[in-house]
C-alpha cells in the first residue's frame, strides 16, 4: 500500500479466523487504519488482496458488517432515533426492528431520554455511544472497531467492552485497533503488531509474548536494585520495578541476588512479559502515548483475510 512515494503498508499478510477477536496494535502511522480501509474497499491496495470470507469487499457485505471508524461522525442535525433508524434500514432491518433496537440500546447506555434530541446536542461520549449502537445494529457477523474506547471514560469503557464481549459470545468476528493493552489482554484471541507498515509480531498473545522473550519479574521492594547480567530493569517506579530476565536465568537466583544485595523484597511475581513491555520495546513508547493511526504491517506479503 503506497501513498505517493511513501510505502505505508509493506508485505503484510494475516488471517482473521471466524469467531475470533483479533487485535491490531501499532503506533501512529503504522498502517492499521490504512489496512482496515483497504480491507473495506475505501482505499485500493497497490498490490495484493484483502478478502472477507474469500471475497474482496463489496456493498453486499454492508448488512453483515459493523464498522466503527477512527473518524467518528454521524448526521449531526438529525435526531438520535432518525439516525439509528436510517442506518438500521440501510443494514436491512425493518423499521420496527430498527426502532426496537434503538429503544433497547438507548436504555442500556442510559440515553433513553435523548432519543429525540439532535445528535449535535449530545456530548462527545454520548455521540460515541450512539455510533457504537449504529455499528452493532442488525447483529453484524464481522465487527471492525478502530480505537473503540477512544474518548470513553472508564465506566463507559467497561460498558463498551461488555458489549464487544457479548457480540463475541454471539459468534461475531471482531477486529479491533486499540492502544489499550488491558482491552487486548481481556478480549483478543490473537494480535498483530505493526510498525512502519510491517508486522513485528503476529499470533496469540502467548505466542507474541514468547516471541519477545518470555519472562518478567514484577517486584515490590525498598532499597537499591543492583545491576546484573541476569536481568534488565525495564520499569522502575517508587518501590516498584519490572525486570526482564535473560533466557537461561532462574527466577529464584534473581531473588537470592536481590536479597543478598540488601533489597527488601515485599512482592515478587514471575510472569511472562506484558504487552506493555513488548509495545515499549517495539515502538519505544508507551501504548497510549499516540493516538490516531495509518500505517503498515508485515508478515507474508500482500494478503489479508478476515472471518
Amino acid at each position: 500500500m503506497r501513498f505517493g512515494a511513501k510505502q505505508v503498508v509493506d508485505g503484510l499478510s494475516f488471517d482473521v479466523v471466524r469467531g475470533e477477536t483479533f487485535g491490531f496494535l501499532g503506533s501512529n502511522g503504522s498502517g492499521k487504519t490504512t489496512t482496515i480501509r483497504a480491507l473495506l474497499g475505501i482505499y485500493r491496495p497497490t498490490s495484493g488482496t484483502l478478502e472477507i470470507n474469500g471475497k474482496v469487499f463489496s456493498d453486499d457485505f454492508g448488512a453483515r458488517l459493523g464498522y466503527l471508524p477512527e473518524e467518528r461522525g454521524l448526521y449531526k442535525k438529525e435526531s438520535v432515533r432518525d439516525v439509528m433508524g436510517y442506518f438500521g434500514r440501510l443494514k436491512g432491518m425493518s423499521k420496527a426492528a430498527a426502532n426496537d433496537f434503538c429503544r433497547q440500546f438507548l436504555d442500556r447506555v442510559d440515553l433513553a431520554d435523548k432519543a429525540e434530541l439532535r445528535v449535535d446536542k449530545l456530548s462527545g461520549g454520548e455521540q460515541q455511544k450512539i455510533q457504537l449502537g449504529v455499528t452493532i445494529m442488525n447483529e453484524p457477523e464481522l465487527l471492525i472497531l478502530d480505537e473503540p474506547t477512544k474518548g470513553f471514560d472508564p465506566v463507559n469503557r467497561r460498558l463498551l467492552m461488555d458489549i464487544i464481549e457479548e457480540r463475541k459470545q454471539a459468534g461475531a468476528t471482531v477486529m479491533m485497533v486499540t492502544h489499550q493493552m488491558e482491552e487486548v489482554e481481556r478480549l483478543c484471541d490473537r494480535i498483530i503488531l505493526l510498525k512502519d507498515g510491517r508486522a513485528e509480531a503476529y499470533g496469540t498473545i502467548d505466542e507474541v509474548q514468547n516471541q519477545f522473550g518470555g519472562r518478567t519479574i514484577r517486584l515490590k521492594y525498598s532499597g537499591m536494585i543492583p545491576q546484573s547480567p541476569k536481568y534488565q530493569v525495564t520499569l522502575q517506579e517508587t518501590n516498584y520495578a519490572e525486570l526482564a530476565l535473560e533466557d537461561s536465568v532462574d527466577e529464584s537466583d534473581v531473588l537470592r541476588d536481590l536479597v543478598l544485595a540488601g533489597v527488601v523484597v515485599r512482592g515478587f511475581v514471575a510472569a511472562k512479559r506484558s504487552l506493555d513491555d513488548i509495545f515499549m520495546q517495539v515502538y519505544g513508547e508507551a501504548p497510549g502515548a499516540e493516538h490516531g493511526s495509518s500505517g503498515p504491517v508485515h508478515s507474508r506479503p500482500g494478503r489479508g483475510r478476515a472471518a
Binding site: 503506497r2 501513498f3 475505501i42 436510517y86 434500514r89 449504529v134
Partner: protein, 406 residues
Amino acid sequence: MARHNLRTVVQFEFIRTIKKRRFWIATLAIPVLLGIVFGLVFASSSSTQSRSEAQKNQTLPFTYTDASGLVDPKLATAMGGAPEQDPGTAVERVKEGKLNAWFSFPASLKAEPVRVYGADQGIFKNGTYDAVAKQLMVLSAQEKVGSAELTAAVQGNFSTESQTFKDGQVSGGLETVVPPLLFLVLFYVVIILLANQMLASTLEEKENRVTEMILTTLNPTTLVVGKVISLFLVGAVQALVFASPMLLGYVFFREQLALPDFDLSHLQFQFLPMLVGALLFVGGFILFTGVLVGIGAVMPTAKDASAVFAPVMIMMFIPFYIVSMVVSDPGSLIVQIFTYFPFTAPITAMLRNAFGSLSGVSAAIVIAELFVFGILALRVAVHLFRYGSIEYSRKLSLRAAFAKKT
C-alpha cells in the same frame, strides 16, 4: 437490496429536508412576498378602478377653438367644453388660473399639433388634458364618418388569424414556441432552486465525518442517486409552493391583479419539440447534477465549493447574452459552439428547439452528448465521493483520486 437502500436514502433525505424549519422559512418566503405584492397590487388596482370610475362621471371644464371644423359641438358640450369667446387672452387666463383649460384645434391636423393649455394638476393628472382633447377629436371624426365598421378599419381595431405551413403541416407561431420553452423555465427553476443543495449533498457526509460508515453500508452510487432523486422531489415541493399563489391569483383575481389574460387554448403541443425539450431537460439536469455533486465531493467545505460553483452557474446563463442571435441567426458560429458545448448546450438547444431551428440531427447529437457527459459526470462524482470524501478536511487531489491504485 440496492432498491431498498435507494428507497431508504430517498426517504431519509427528503423527509429530513422538508422537516426543517429553515426549509419552510426559505420556501414560504417567496409566496409570502408574492402575496404581499399581490395584496398591494390588488389594493392599488381597486383604488385606481374606483378613481377612474369616479373620473368617468366627471367632466373636465375647458374651452376650445376649432379651425379644422371637425369638432362636434354637441360632443364637446357633453364632455364639459365650450367654444372660446376670446382666444387672444385664453392662454393668459389659464396662466392666471381663471380658465381651467383651452384646446386649440388647428386648421390642418396633419400639419399642426392640437395645442392644449391647462392648469397644473400634478404630473400624472396633467395627461388628462391631452386625452380629453384627443378623445374629442376622435369621437367627432367617428361621428362624421357615420360607420362603426369603417372607423374600426381606419383605426386598425380588428383581429387577424393566420396559418402558415411547413413541410405540408401547419407551422404554428408563438403558440408552438411557448410549450417547449416551458422546459427551459423548468430547467432554470430546478437548477437555481437546487444547485446549492446539490453542491452540499455530499459535503454533509464529509463535514460530519460520516463517509466511512456510509461507504461500508451502501453503494455510493445508490447514495448519490438517492440524494439526486430526493433533491428533485424537494424541488417539486418548492415549485408547487411557489406556483400556488400565482395560480390562485391568476385564476381568481386576474383582473384585480392586472395580470394579462393568456388564452392557453391556443397553445400547440407538438410531439417532437416536446419530446426533444423533455430529453434536453433531463440530459441537462443529469449533467449539472453530476458536476455539482462532483464539486461537492472534491471540496472540503461548502465555502470552498461555492468558489468553483460560480463559473458553472455562469456558463448556464451565458447563452442568454446571445439569445437574439439564437433566434435570428441560429447558423452563426457562436450559436453553433454554444449548441454543442456541454455546459451551454441545454439552454441554447432548448431555445433553438422552441423556435424550430434545431434540426433533428443536431437535436440527437446534443441529447446524446448531454446524456453521455451527464452519466460520465455522475460516475466521476460517485468515484470522487468514494475515493475522495475521506479526505475530510483537505481538498481532494484529483490526480490521487484518478490514480489507478492508491
